[in-house]
Amino acid sequence: MDQVAGWLMMGGYGGFVWPAYGLAAAVLGGLAFQSWRRHRRSGAALARLQTPADMPRQ
């Protein structure tokens, strides 16, 4: 337990080290999520547009 606490303290610099990693994760993770969601939506929208022409329902 003490080891974990010591690790989180980062020699007294935990207040700088952890926010740096958190911020990087938030910015890059946020961008990755946004890019992934937009990709999925764009693919779905395109598929909806293409379906009637491609496979005429009978």
Partner: protein
Amino acid sequence: MRQSTVEKGAAMLTRFANPARFMRLSGATLPWLGGAAAGVLALGLVWSLAIAPPDYQQGETVRIMFIHVPAAWMALSVYLFVAVASAVALVSRHPLAEIAAQAAAPVGAAFTLVCLATGSLWGRPMWGAWWVWDARLTSVLVLLFLYVGYIALVNAFDDRSRGARAGSLLALVGIVNLPIIKFSVDWWNTLHQPASVVRLSGPSIALSLLMPLLVMAVGFGLLFGWLLLLRMRTLLNERKAEALRLHGQPAPPRHRPTGERGDAAMPAARPVLR
């Protein structure tokens, strides 16, 4: 004159043939690239936060370096990528080049932001200041503005090709900032220290600290590759959907194209991309 028609013909072909091939290839690559990025980044994080030793002077704050420096490298190389893609887009008018530049720019801006923010969190405990206006910090801030300016300019025009061209020119003008950033610490007195890894006399950084740095750099590079392909595919999808909406729906009845040459004639009405 004859050469020009040949070139035009070739341009027409690649113009519509390549995006289709790109969609196919990128679709197959994407999961592997994403998996590799996630794996390498996970390894890099564990190494950076738990395995790497503290620095003899800076103690545990040196761990901030493992994201700060790779983010800075990516900020510079992604800008170079945007500028080169912009040059290709301006000269050869290849649509994939324009799309690559526009897909990469937000990723580069994000890396620049991470670089600046982590640098600030590192500078406060070590230097004693969140921010100083020295040549290195200021030129990296200018890089962020260049990214933001590029993104804004590309989206500022109703006519998309004009926006793309204006953005490409800005990206090319901004390339002068890259050597300034890299050499600012050598040309002028700065608070920021000189380069530790990419320098003529070899790295001035112990192997146990260099290894996690390089692993994180590879992870960031893979992440960029994944994001680039993902965002390029998104832009291609969106443009194709827009063309379909503009040119009527449902698409006019026509025979199924059999080859890429046939596709080239009527890109908007092509039924399936993949």
